[in-house]
């Protein structure tokens, strides 16, 4: 079947777009989540181990194995798992922050709950700008936000490629302010300074279903510091060391259960297949977008290992519709494209103490990017159809604005 002949994706008239009354191009939604599915037998065979040991949580056999495997995978000395990336971040901040300081430096163009993460530690977010080349926090932008009250810097790897982690580590060493790297989107990545997960004092990852390693819900940290490892192991389990012995404050229950560990282990076993799938998706976007004006694919830096997982496009001035309007059209066609980190954190209302900021680069960038469908549930043929759909949206842009003007009259 030739794509050009398929009217579902190549809309012949303005009112064929679902937003303007037509049928959605895709019958099932195309999402942006990883949703990697390992072999069910592999999952069941891991499950059998906790089942036979009759241990369902509380640092069980699979959690211990997962931690060993992930540490090896990242070239890190230690790994500590958690019930989610969110609580891994909270616990890591709690463990690393300078005592008696009240502020935390973080980029604004990032994960939409990162400021909330900080609020659970009582630190007041001070947002910094990003480097337009990496879309990430840089040593220079971080430095601008440092004050006498800074307790911690959160470096965040963007969802395509990496931030200058080595530069941030140097800044941290120079200022004495601890650094935590949020590496949730960079599980597989390597840089010229080594593997992500082997660099900063603490790097934090997620095992959420949408991420590279699907553990349904879950998270983990890597560290080369055994004191930090020990403290994190303690506070994820209420602060108990052994039975009846509370040795640290500020604990909670942030333990990963055995069933989620089984899923993460099975997915870790099939990780290379998932990365190959992602690369295939990425190559399809690369090829198809080359001939579509106005939409530029954010390229992975292929000098180093990468997961090819997230697909981000930039709208250039040739693209005829606004970013938000484009997403509206796509969503109605069952394409669950999302604005890339928009609004930025500092643009959102916040009901806890924070520092208002004006961040020129972030404000400019956060209206230009779209996160496009990818992951295990998406195949290259769907991507080709999606680009077809985008081509018809591009072609019909003039008629769409006329159509809407008429509709408003």
């Amino acid at each position: 079947m030739s794509i050009e002949n398929d009217t579902a994706f190549h809309k012949q008239s303005v009112d064929a777009f679902a937003l303007l009354g037509g049928q959605p191009a895709f019958s099932t939604p195309l999402g942006t989540s990883g949703l990697a599915r390992p072999d069910v037998e592999a999952f069941l065979s891991y499950s059998k181990r906790f089942f036979d040991a009759k241990q369902y949580t509380n640092n069980g056999p699979l959690v211990r194995e997962l931690e060993k495997r992930l540490a090896a995978f990242h070239d890190a000395e230690h790994c500590v798992t958690f019930c989610s990336g969110f609580w891994a971040l909270v616990m890591a901040i709690e463990t690393l922050k300078l005592a008696n300081k009240s502020e935390i430096v973080m980029p604004s163009l990032t994960y939409r709950r990162l400021a909330d993460v900080a609020a659970w530690t009582g630190l007041r977010p001070r947002f910094c700008d990003v480097d337009p080349k990496t879309l990430a926090i840089s040593p220079e932008t971080a430095r601008e936000a440092i004050t006498d009250e800074t307790a911690l810097i959160v470096g965040v790897h963007p969802i395509v490629n990496c931030c200058d982690a080595a530069g941030l580590i140097k800044l941290s060493e120079e200022t004495g302010i601890p650094l935590l790297i949020d590496a949730v989107e960079s599980v597989y990545e390597e840089t010229e300074h080594g593997r992500v997960g082997s660099m900063a004092p603490i790097e934090v990852f997620s095992l959420h279903a949408s991420k590279l390693i699907n553990g349904a819900e879950g998270g983990y940290i890597t560290t080369s510091n055994s004191d930090l490892r020990d403290k994190l192991r303690l506070i994820r389990g209420f602060g108990f060391q052994g039975q009846d012995n509370v040795v640290v404050g500020g604990g909670t229950n942030a333990k990963l259960n055995e069933i989620h560990a089984a899923l993460a282990l099975a997915n870790l076993d099939s990780l290379e297949q998932f990365v190959a799938h992602n690369q295939n998706i990425y190559r399809t976007y690369e090829k198809e977008l080359e001939v579509l004006p106005g939409m530029k694919l954010l390229a992975f830096d292929e000098r180093f290992k990468t997961s090819y997982k997230n697909i981000v496009v930039e709208l250039t001035e040739d693209w005829p519709l606004s970013r938000d309007r484009t997403i509206e059209f796509l969503n109605s066609e069952n394409v669950l494209a999302r604005p890339y980190y928009s609004p930025a954190l500092h643009q959102k209302p916040m009901r806890y103490p924070h520092f208002p900021a004006s961040l020129k680069t972030t404000e400019k960038l956060c209206s230009k990017f779209i996160l496009m469908p990818s992951g295990f549930m998406v195949n290259p043929n769907q991507i080709r159809n999606l680009i077809s759909l985008l081509r018809s949206l591009f072609d019909a842009a003039d008629q769409i604005s006329e159509y809407q003007e008429r509709a408003h009259q």
Binding site: K54, F238, N253
Partner: protein
């Protein structure tokens, strides 16, 4: 079995495998496998999926409340609860509780203030609350223990009289009922644990029950489950989601509730007859409930037992009977929660010194209870050597 040589005196342990105090019921492999294959077929892993929604609906019926919000564990549920109630300042709570209770309060930037408990029921009363009330308290966080219950109505009345919000840590109370209604519908909300050690288990898990639609909506937003009801303003969000895997296990566990409860009750009856004539050992009766999950066997070890509670615990542990001191250390003795002048909570101190929880649940058979009782007698008889 014959108890010849106590392990603490150089003999072999009475049990080859440890007997824990937690429930640890789990569905059999066939049912587990079917449920897991279903998740893999649907490829829906988390985020308020079909099983999580089904579990919430079934728990709403089971607990007799309008809204149940499932969460990844009860501690995070308690934190979300304090957030959803938008509390400030201090929270009054009994010191006779598991550490998670005050930790949840402190994680929300609030200060726990501890009250004592009634020595007979082990629960807070209006009198113990009144004695501990101080300026700055905005809420009461009630606690139910052992499958018993505090006097919910009296505590609530007292809270109302003092213009305080009242919510409940009902982590141990899944499936318990008082003369005034099922545990689950009292106060602003109640938080339950679905941990593996509880009668209904999700492996790790919990849920929050409430009859207030606004609180439920805030909880869902704080939990952050995309698409689960309307977006409402909350101070801060978190990740408290329960996955499909957790929900699948909890649904199977809910199916088994009556069976597991009956097993607990049968074990409890064996304990009652086996322990009743041991001097210095008192099996705590269930207080304040007309139906209980019977998930705890709590005894008090009196001076007349002849061996201290701690030595009894150690001697039982050596036999692979993993008896537990509850709560040890008392939360008011934990550095994070100590203050000057020191907490004056004599009843809690006493209970912390003489309460011992004994094994019950899936790993314990009726005849094991007989053996445990024999061991306790034997430990008593050898008191001089042990002590």
């Amino acid at each position: 079995m014959s108890v010849k040589h106590l392990a603490c005196l150089g003999g072999e342990p009475a049990f080859a495998d440890p007997l824990p105090v937690g429930q640890l019921y789990f569905p059999d492999w066939e049912r587990y496998e079917v449920a897991m294959r279903g998740i893999f077929e649907r490829q829906y892993y988390t985020n308020h999926g079909p099983l999580a929604r089904q579990l919430e609906a079934r728990l709403e019926v089971f607990l007799g409340v309008k809204h149940v919000v499932c969460v990844t564990n009860a501690t995070i549920g308690l934190m979300m609860a304090a957030e959803a109630l938008e509390l400030s300042g201090k929270v009054l709570t009994p010191a006779m509780t598991f550490l998670a209770t005050p930790l949840s309060v402190a994680r929300c930037g609030l200060e726990p203030v501890f009250c004592d408990v009634d020595p007979v029921t082990h629960h807070m009363t209006p009198a113990t609350l009144e004695a501990a009330l101080e300026p700055g308290v905005s809420a009461v966080l009630g606690v139910h223990l052992w499958g018993s219950a505090a006097d919910t109505i009296e505590v609530q009345k007292w809270a109302e009289k003092n213009a305080l919000k009242c919510y409940w840590d009902s982590a141990q109370s899944m499936g318990c009922e008082t003369a005034k209604g099922l545990i689950g519908g009292f106060g602003e909300l109640e938080v339950f644990s679905l941990h593996a050690t509880k009668i209904i288990s999700a492996g790790e898990g919990g849920c929050v029950a409430t009859n207030d639609p606004d609180i439920a909506a805030r909880l869902r937003n704080i939990r952050s489950s995309y698409g689960a009801g309307p977006a409402v303003s909350v101070v801060k969000t978190s990740n408290g989601r329960m996955s499909e895997f957790q929900a699948a296990i909890a649904l199977l566990s809910l199916d088994d509730f009556e069976m597991n409860k009956a097993n607990n009750i049968a074990l409890r009856e064996v304990y009652m007859s086996e322990l009743c004539d041991i001097e210095g050992i008192t099996l705590e009766p269930l207080h304040g409930v007309i139906a209980s999950n019977a998930q705890s066997i709590v005894v008090r070890v009196g001076e007349d037992f002849g061996v201290s509670r701690n030595l009894l615990k150690d001697a039982l542990s050596a036999e692979n009977v993993l008896a537990r001191r509850y709560f040890w250390p008392g939360v008011h003795k934990v550095e994070q929660f100590m203050r000057q002048p020191q907490w004056n909570l004599p009843q809690t101190d006493q209970l912390n010194e003489d309460v011992l929880a004994l094994p019950i649940g899936s790993r314990v058979k009726g005849e094991d209870v007989g053996t445990i009782a024999k061991l306790i007698r034997e430990i008593q008889r050898n008191g001089a050597q042990i002590g």
